[in-house]
Amino acid sequence: MTADDLNAPAPPWNYNPSAWSQRVPIVILAFIAFGISSYMAAYQWRLVDSVWDPIFGNQTAQVLDSDVSERMKRWFGIPDAALGAVAYLGDALFGLAGSTRRWQYRPWLVVLFGLDVIPLGLVSAVLVLVQTFILGTYCFLCLVTAAISLLLVWFAYDEVWSSLAYLRRIHQKAGAVAAWEIFWGRRHPAAA
C-alpha cells in the first residue's frame, strides 16, 4: 500500500471505509432523514396543516406539539425538528466531502463527520426514545429518524476508527507534532 493509492484499504479493515461505496449509503440515509425532519419542522412551523402517521394516528402531531417540544423551541429558538434537519444535512454534506482516502488525508474532516454522526446520532435517538416513553405517545416519523440515526452510527464508525487509529500510530511513531500536522491534512515524513 502506498500513501498515494486512493483506493487502498484502511487498517484495521481489509476494505476502504472512505470509498464511495461505503459513503453513498450514509449520504442517502442522511438525506432521507433530512427530508423527514424537514417535513416535521414544516408542521411545527404550521407550513403544513397536519402530519402523516400511518400507524399511531395523531400521536405524531401530539409529540410535535408537546410541552417538551415547545420547551426545546424556546431553548433553541427554532423547532427541534428543524435542528434535527440541519444535523442530518450536516451528516450528508460531511459524508460527501473529501476524497476516497480522507481517513488519512483529512482526518479532521472524518473526525468532524464522526462527531456529527455518532454522538449527535446517539443523543437524538435516546431523546426520541425518552420522549416516547415519558409522553407515552408514539411518533412514527421520529422513530424512523431515530432508527436512521442508529444506522448512520453503524455505517460511519469504521471510517472514524481508521482515522483515529492512524493518528494514534503516527503519534506513537513520530510524536504529537506529527500527529497534529497530519490531523490537519499536512503531509509528514512519518505518514506511510
Binding site: 412551523w45 429558538g77 444535512l89 460527501l96 503531509r187
Partner: protein
C-alpha cells in the same frame, strides 16, 4: 466548489427573505448575505485563498443576533436567520476542492 455554491444559494435566500417572510428589511441580514456571497465568490476565484473560513464568523454573528435580540421562539425571519446560520456553520468548513486530496498529498511523495 459545491460547498461555495451552497453558500451562494444560502446568501441569495437571506437576501430574498424579507420578501419571502414579508418582514421589514434587517440591515444585519442583508449585510451578512452580501458578505457570505462575496466570500464564497472570492473562494471560487482564488481556491488557494480560504476566504470562506470567514463565513463561520459571519454565521455566528447572524445566529447570535437572531437568537439574542428576539424573544424565543422569535418571528419567522429570526428563526430563518438561525437556521441559515447553522447551515453556514456546516458548509464553511468544507474545503474548496472537497473531492480531491489536500494539495500536499496530490503529488507522489
Amino acid at each position: 466548489m459545491w460547498a461555495r455554491w451552497l453558500e451562494v444559494a444560502l446568501g441569495a435566500w437571506l437576501l430574498a427573505s424579507p420578501w419571502i417572510f414579508q418582514s421589514p428589511r434587517q440591515w444585519t441580514t442583508t449585510l451578512a448575505a452580501a458578505a457570505v456571497i462575496t466570500l464564497a465568490a472570492i473562494s471560487c476565484m482564488k481556491p488557494k485563498l480560504p476566504a470562506h473560513l470567514l463565513t463561520g464568523a459571519i454565521a455566528l454573528a447572524l445566529g447570535a443576533n437572531a437568537y439574542f435580540t428576539h424573544p424565543r421562539p422569535g418571528p419567522p425571519e429570526a428563526q430563518n436567520d438561525i437556521v441559515v446560520s447553522l447551515l453556514l456553520l456546516t458548509t464553511f468548513l468544507i474545503p474548496n476542492q472537497a473531492f480531491r486530496p489536500p494539495r500536499p498529498w496530490r503529488n507522489p511523495g
